[in-house]
Subunit: 215 residues, 2 copies
Amino acid sequence: MKRPSYHHGDLANALTAAATQLARQGGPDAVVLREAARQVGVSATAAYRHFTGHGDLIHAVKAHAADQLATSMRTELAKTPAERDPRDEAMRRMRALGLGYVRFALAEPGLFRTAFCRPGSLTPAGQSEPTPDGLEHDLALVPPYQMLVESIDALVTVGLLSAERRPWAETFAWASVHGLSMLLLDGPLRHCPDAEREQIIERVLAGVAAGLISG
Amino acid sequence: MKRPSYHHGDLANALTAAATQLARQGGPDAVVLREAARQVGVSATAAYRHFTGHGDLIHAVKAHAADQLATSMRTELAKTPAERDPRDEAMRRMRALGLGYVRFALAEPGLFRTAFCRPGSLTPAGQSEPTPDGLEHDLALVPPYQMLVESIDALVTVGLLSAERRPWAETFAWASVHGLSMLLLDGPLRHCPDAEREQIIERVLAGVAAGLISG
DNA sequence: TGTACATCAGTGAACGCGCGTTCACTGATGTAC
DNA sequence: TGTACATCAGTGAACGCGCGTTCACTGATGTAC
């Protein structure tokens, strides 16, 4: 349990890892700076050498969580073989991304909730976020989003989605799959039997697909 | 500021109203038993004559919030005249319900977040919920849900939705609109300009409609 | 190769905060006779 | 119409909790000469 040296060597990463583990087990509220330091075996104050404060730490966790979400989406993509027909392939990709998203939410609810927890809702004072420019630096969510955008672009390329209906199509897809995840995790569907849950996921993914390519 | 009598007369309702106001302004985390009592002008202990504890109070607030959500949906429904054609009318209703849902989320973010906050995530110990039977008593959400179900039934009646595609159609619609609300409120779309936001809402509602009736 | 010194990365005690809840209590109300 | 008494609906002090953050500090590291 004793560190070899007075200096840790990689404290920033160690704290982020510990905080991520806390988020995994207990969601955003469980990301507690003091506890992360405790688990790493370091005084709470030491964290302030590497993070400006609690908000900074949780931001690192969010980035980690978003990364893992993207990984889950890529994994689902790799689970099924590419289709011959470009249209089938484009649909297969859409479906896989959505499935990877929901699967991640179900497999890692704590991380999922943390990735999407309201910025500033956890600040100690409970006051408004002191974000300097008011801009979102949840840009960690860019990788998953980028995958979705490319996937929708492909729908246009293969002729399944008209240019006219292209605008905000990603947002529609994202909203549906995100909402599904929330309802399954914290909403009225949270104690749904597994079999029903699978049916629901199928139905929503089918609805998104139909909503995208029809009109 | 002084009560006319030692007894309050309607403390339960007064506390619920104060707590709801707290939720309106600050979301679920702002629902603080002591603060509600303070605002009513009563000791914190008095609340325990009418609620078993903090969880009970927040449950009352959730019920209130769900009621107002249903009201918002009904209001939107009443905003446009009924259509002659039964199919148009069924679609009009679907759209109005979705719009009422999103509008409520945007107009009352604190109440909306409270209505859907995870049960047990606010318990003092931060531990698992001691819900006796494990069942959801968020059945307060039944009114909005019931309206949606009837609206989808109408789609079947007028022949816009096949019986085959009927199962879980409500869930698809709900998930999409709920996810949209979350993304607009706390997600990456939260600082979206008004004009874009309106376009997004239109696009999602159109996507849901298309996803429901096509296939 | 040795040494003075700046800098870096930790420590530990302390502060203030406000919460939910419990306790023993007391003032007000209503009811039986 | 009065009165004894049970019950109800409040009070106020206290407890324990654990957090984020600050402070003055000290041990370790590395660099210039």
